[in-house]
Amino acid sequence: MKLILQTLMLASIFALAGCNSNKGDKIMIGNFGSLTGAEATFGLSTRDGIILALEEWNKKGGVLGKQIELIAYDNQGKPEEARLSVEKLINIDNVVAILGEVASTRSLAGAPVAQQNKVPMISPSSTNPMVTQKGDFIFRVCFIDPFQGEVIAKFAYNSLKLRKAAILRDSKSDYSMGLSQFFANTFTALGGEIVGDEKYASGDVDFKAQLTNLKSKQPDFIYVPGYYTEVGLVARQAREQGIKVPLMGGDGWDSSKLTEIGGESVEGNYFSNHYTVEDPRPEVQNFIKNYKARFGTTPDSLAALAYDSAQVLFDSLKRANTIDGEKLRDAIAATKDFPGVTGIITLNKERDAVKSAVVLQVKDGLFKFVETINP
């Protein structure tokens, strides 16, 4: 049934191709994200961050003399839908460039389509190294997981003086599997020990068996580099099982839902992230002020990265002075010292940004800055 549907949709995509174009008075850009599902806040924050940047540029007269318009598709958090969304954006909507996704697994699903059609794609926040290896049209404005894994390993070993780590990772997520590995590599290289390594699958709700096993290994902390829904449940069940050591994770924790699900169980835990709302730089504080005025909530790092990715794209469009895919690609690749909310953005040869990371701690339901770790 699904196959038939997909075939039909693909057929209609080809039939409709070319109906809508950038030849008019608008420049179309695309976004695909998880607007619903277990990672809904990722998609929504990302879309809102892009909208904020887009409205600021449009107020100043748009880019290349035209107004910019965003087309955003929901992929429900499913990789197969992510691929389909990118196909729709390119073949039906004829977008100039694509911003997305957050989750590495879904960026990896969409990237080959963008690469094949020579449409530049900038992932705001996919940190798995494989994403930009999909081709020279794929970029990102965030750091990558080998560095992010290092951040928590160094923080735990040097700052907290912890020596025994346990890992609980999501076997269905490229992000979680990769990040765990990079963390383990650095932590053991520093002299730490990985005493336990357990897996779950995204969508699971019962982690008690894995936690019981990890508890008996008596780790000093547990590294849980998953996404917020599962992490919130893991934190609750860890406390129910009498595990008192801190949990740590990565940027997948960054959602207001984390504290809603985990409640007091997530208090005191640490995670690595792209930016902190406590950063006094004017770029950051202005962004937070404008975002709050527009959407009524404090932006998380996914909104900040989305805002940055849109800024980088519009700036590149301006420098390229054309919507031609290859020229736009070259302009994006030449991005240097761009003052973003999440730091100074310079893209390296691998089309990744190299930036510092922050460690945050959950305190009274908010994410408090602890320290900055540089690459």
Partner: protein
């Protein structure tokens, strides 16, 4: 050893939730020879009723045992109403139809609830509010029993005792058992078959509603497709115990909960869900009647 005891406690709690759902499957099968595939979705509806009630009527109130029992009660009543509507409009008109028609209708009702649920409740997961005071009880040796698990044990136990009483000690129970022996004969001797079937649906659905709330308390992520997997597992538990047999359903559910937790704990959590289906296949191959079921093999 301590790990083993902790796994056992966790498995029993999981099994108790499966048991409440499995009872509904087995009772409906007992009286109608119908596998009510929509049963897992009634469990989901019960969970949502509990969630909305807790959110809007107890909103912000301090977690309390009384509040929790109230939420369980409301969810039971709400699910019972849903069960009655389904029975009246989907199953009763097909009472005389071939069994395959009613089976397909059950699948239709299940899909209706799942996708209707996405329209009404939204497709994104929602999070069950904290309605129960949290307390960890240290049993010594690093073994913990938390208040969720105690509530699950107590509520499941009380409901099962009530059910046992209803089925084996009351006039209604006798009528129900008579129907499960032979619907036509029961009709001939003057039992109001429709009424008994309706009450069976009320009991089964309200148990599923209670299970929905208990599940929400233990695993507070609720979405409209929630009923799918627990529903299937409860069904497998009912088959394992011998479908149609009430004690069997409870035994099957507890065994399933335990073995699932042991597999996740000692082998790999990847095989947790697969295990349930392996058990189903083994039961069908080796002992089609289930642990406590009758030996007679029936072709569906």
């Amino acid at each position: 050893m301590n790990d083993f005891i902790q796994h056992t406690i966790n498995g029993l709690a999981l099994g108790s939730i499966y048991a409440l759902v499995a009872l509904g499957y087995t009772m409906v099968f007992g009286v109608l020879q119908l596998i009510n595939f929509a049963h897992g979705d009634i469990f989901m509806v019960g969970s949502f009723i509990g969630l909305y009630f807790a959110r809007y009527f107890l909103g912000g109130a301090e977690p309390s045992v009384l509040g929790t029992l109230l939420v369980v009660g409301v969810a039971m009543i709400g699910s019972a109403i849903v069960g009655v509507i389904i029975e009246k409009f989907a199953y009763r008109p097909l009472r005389k139809a071939p069994r395959i028609n009613i089976l397909i209708t059950a699948i239709g009702v299940s899909l209706f609830l799942q996708y209707g649920g996405q329209l009404v409740f939204g497709a994104s997961p929602q999070f069950f509010p904290n309605i129960l005071p949290r307390q960890n009880i240290d049993l010594g040796g690093d073994i913990f029993l938390d208040s969720n698990q105690i509530t699950i044990f107590l509520v499941s136990f009380v409901l099962m005792v009530i059910l046992q009483y209803l089925v084996f000690k009351t006039q209604f129970g006798r009528a129900m058992r008579a129907i499960s022996h032979s619907l036509d004969t029961a009709n001939v001797i003057g039992i109001n078959v429709n009424k008994v079937i309706l009450i069976t649906f009320i009991i089964g659905s309200s148990l599923a509603g209670a299970a929905g709330v208990l599940y929400g308390i233990a695993y507070p992520k609720i979405d409209p497709l929630l009923g799918l997997l627990p529903g299937l597992k409860a069904f497998i538990a009912a088959v394992l115990g011998g479908i149609g047999n009430i004690t069997g359903a409870v035994i099957g559910a507890v065994l399933l909960g335990l073995s699932e937790t042991y597999v996740a704990g000692y082998i790999s959590s990847t095989y947790r869900d697969a295990l349930a289906f392996v058990i189903l296949i083994l039961v069908l191959l080796l002992r089609p009647g289930g642990i406590l079921g009758s030996k007679k093999i029936e072709k569906v």
